[in-house]
């Protein structure tokens, strides 16, 4: 049971190992706080959908499985979007259209397909929680690193003083790609040191196609 939870945080980390859900990962991580909000929104949708899917897994006919999952996910995403708009307008504005794009985040559909539709509610909940926390942590790390280099702050707390010439490119799209590329490389390297064996990276789309089929 515990492994259902921890799996998502390191060994099958959705971003660094599975390379899934790239689009929100890269787009909103200009600052740590946005990474955190995106992570929490995704966590919410992931947990709710997993629990819902797990609850109804026995009565949903196989042919319309994907359609039902998608509707459930879209419903929770809409809720999250309206909630952010109502309670946290500045964050909602900063995340913009990337909140609704959670609908097509492969991580969520992938977890329904691979786990929640086959396991009971408690295990599905833990699995979703683990994956969501792993996703959020990765987003926070990526966001903080970029924010630090781009603005000299972390979570809007000034680390480097006025003398720091803002490295603007880190806050722009190229910075996102390069930072994530290097972080994944680092993750691989650390992993190899720990386990002593090569952890082969699975390319993003093999997984993506799995969840589409």
């Amino acid at each position: 049971m515990i492994r259902d939870f921890t799996r998502g945080i390191w060994r099958e980390n959705p971003i660094f190992v599975q390379v899934l859900g790239m689009c929100p990962t890269l787009a909103v991580t200009t600052k740590g706080i946005f990474g955190l909000s995106m992570g929490l929104a995704t966590l919410f949708v992931l947990i709710c959908s997993s629990v819902a899917v797990s609850l109804i897994r026995k009565i949903v006919p196989n042919q319309v499985r994907m359609a039902v999952f998608t509707v459930i996910i879209a419903t929770f995403v809409t809720m999250a979007d309206y909630f952010l708009k109502a309670k946290f307008p500045p964050i909602s504005k900063a995340l913009g259209p990337y909140v609704p794009l959670i609908v097509v985040n492969c991580i969520i559909l992938g977890r329904q397909e691979a786990f929640a539709s086959k396991n009971n509610v408690a295990r599905s909940f833990l699995d979703a929680l683990g994956m969501g926390v792993g996703f959020s942590l990765s987003l926070i790390i990526l966001g903080s690193v970029r924010e630090f280099f781009a603005y000299g702050t972390i979570f809007d707390v000034t680390i480097l003083g006025k003398w720091y010439e803002h490295w603007v490119i880190m806050g722009l799209p190229p910075g996102a790609f390069i930072t994530l590329g290097i972080l994944i490389g680092l993750f691989n390297w650390v992993n190899k040191k720990i386990t002593g064996r090569r952890q082969k990276l699975k390319s993003g789309c093999e997984k993506c196609s799995n969840c589409a089929s």
């Binding site: 890269l26 609704p100 390319s203 789309c205």
Partner: protein, 195 residues
Amino acid sequence: MFELRLLTIFIAACITHNFVLTYFLGICPFIGVSKKTDAAIGMGLAVTFVMTLSASVTWCIYYFLLNRFGLPFLQYAAFIIVIASLVQIVEMFIKKTSPPLYRALGIYLPLITTNCAILGLTLFMVLREYSFLEAVVYGIGAGLGFTLALVIMAGIREELEFADIPESLKGASITLIIAGMLALAFMGFGGIISS
């Protein structure tokens, strides 16, 4: 002036604000399918086709149904269902009418449903209040831009086979770093639209 606006939208969607390299939409196929140039072209064209189609259909649904009857909260659910069904219909249609085309594009079509570029396109279209014609041009531009990024990436990766890359950086890691360089290069086009 009107034609100029269309042209601006087209160039912006295609180059200066390339979907993959500035909005990070459609990264999954970008990393996965961009290993061979011909596969990249096939995928790109399939996406362009579906994008143009979904832009027009979702535009009609948004303005004639959702907006008119005050149902904006159904937007996301409606859009994703429309896109998924469109992909299915296109797949069936091509299979019946043009087997050669189906052989070329067929395997990429199911992948498109989870391609966030399509849903992203429809969301941006609504957000920016484009007219019908603008939305269609936007769809074509975004699709071609996606193809362009994919093909360039595939070309680089074919060459990369022969490069000596540190073990840890292999795979997604080096692809992302290259994508970063490409994004830098595309940013340089920013000055095109200055009118």
